[in-house]
Point group: C2
Chain length 215, copies 2
Amino acid sequence: MARQPTRTSVSRSPRKRKGQGGERREEILGAALRLIGERGVHGVSTRQIAEAVGISQPSLYAYFPSRDAIVEELHDRAFVLLVQALDRFVPTPGTPLEQAVEYLRVYVDFGLNNPDAYRVAFMIEGAGKPKPPTDESPPKPALQAFNSLRAAIWALHESGRVRDQDPEVISQSLWAGVHGLVSLLIARPQFPWAEREALIRTHLTMLAHGVLKDA
Amino acid sequence: MARQPTRTSVSRSPRKRKGQGGERREEILGAALRLIGERGVHGVSTRQIAEAVGISQPSLYAYFPSRDAIVEELHDRAFVLLVQALDRFVPTPGTPLEQAVEYLRVYVDFGLNNPDAYRVAFMIEGAGKPKPPTDESPPKPALQAFNSLRAAIWALHESGRVRDQDPEVISQSLWAGVHGLVSLLIARPQFPWAEREALIRTHLTMLAHGVLKDA
DNA sequence: AAAGCATCTTGACAGTGTTAGGTTGGATCG
DNA sequence: CGATCCAACCTAACACTGTCAAGATGCTTT
């Protein structure tokens, strides 16, 4: 009697072959990042992700232990992308101020060009909290990203152009400075912002002026 | 037959008298703010709020149309508090740089002393999105807060001490500068921050140096 | 052809925000 | 005083969420 199930609707993706489970994993991460970019981190459910991929929703748990684990993986990957972008930077000839602005600009552009990644990386509440036990061993991508920035500041500092302040403090301060602009531009698109290019340039110039000696 | 209900557990708060529904409203907001401060915006359910207040959970909907409305009310109130703090500022005698640092310090201190409020006000994803129709009429507390800051910058600007830049751009840039520090300090308490006082002072001095002429 | 196991499924659970409808009891009025 | 009214509040139920348990499927290797 069991009537033929009407099926339809949820077009399933064909089952992956034996070794290719990793492909599914990537598909899941891709769909999750896209949906999160559209609807926000908390506006996406596991069922929506699963449907976008074309699998049943509990199948996600074959690849990730929890929903949060998906977000966390995106989080880490976003940091890796940021580090790559920062480390790719090579200064063009110019004054230290111009070079500093250029470098900070890489950070800003990364954030604005990858708002989904930046959101996931920096703008998720309590994303860095619940892990006091498993520290130390792996250099978390988050810290690694800051290390890139810090290294650049130290280099600048050793050129003697920086105001006499602890370089560590200056690094953190500059980070806060660029993060503030990026996060606000991303999070508050409705705010009556000034012309974006002028705002960015002014902001970075201000930060650089604040740090460098020859103002 | 109907056995005495075992009751227990959820100690209910006594019913409010006829006109005192507003009290309940305040109790709900207070409990919500406290719980959100402890567990984060998304870590608190309406049932938890209701239990903390001592009423049934659907009763919340007699006072607020939705869960988001509770958060939004807290959001607006946080802005009002911030505006009050900013407007209370009266500069002590000193150089323009010292005064600028002092003023920005009010913003930073407000954020760090009221992290719950600041979180709710500035660090909630998409809190300023879904309202293109009902604009214009009421001066939203959010914009009002920025107006306070802008007014202060304009005053500074007219004293002739500011680098030749559009004051509007400078206001937004300074806002981004302080917001970056406050939001990171609040959101990432685990990060190996430098000594907080030194960090704040350096950051604000940097921002002020970046904006003022006599560096 | 058989075995093994990665892949994926259905079914169920407690928890969530929200709505519908009914009860209670203090304030008000005749 | 007693009747009425309605603000304040409740229970029951809905569709949705993340997660777990248990089993089916079918490619790959022996």
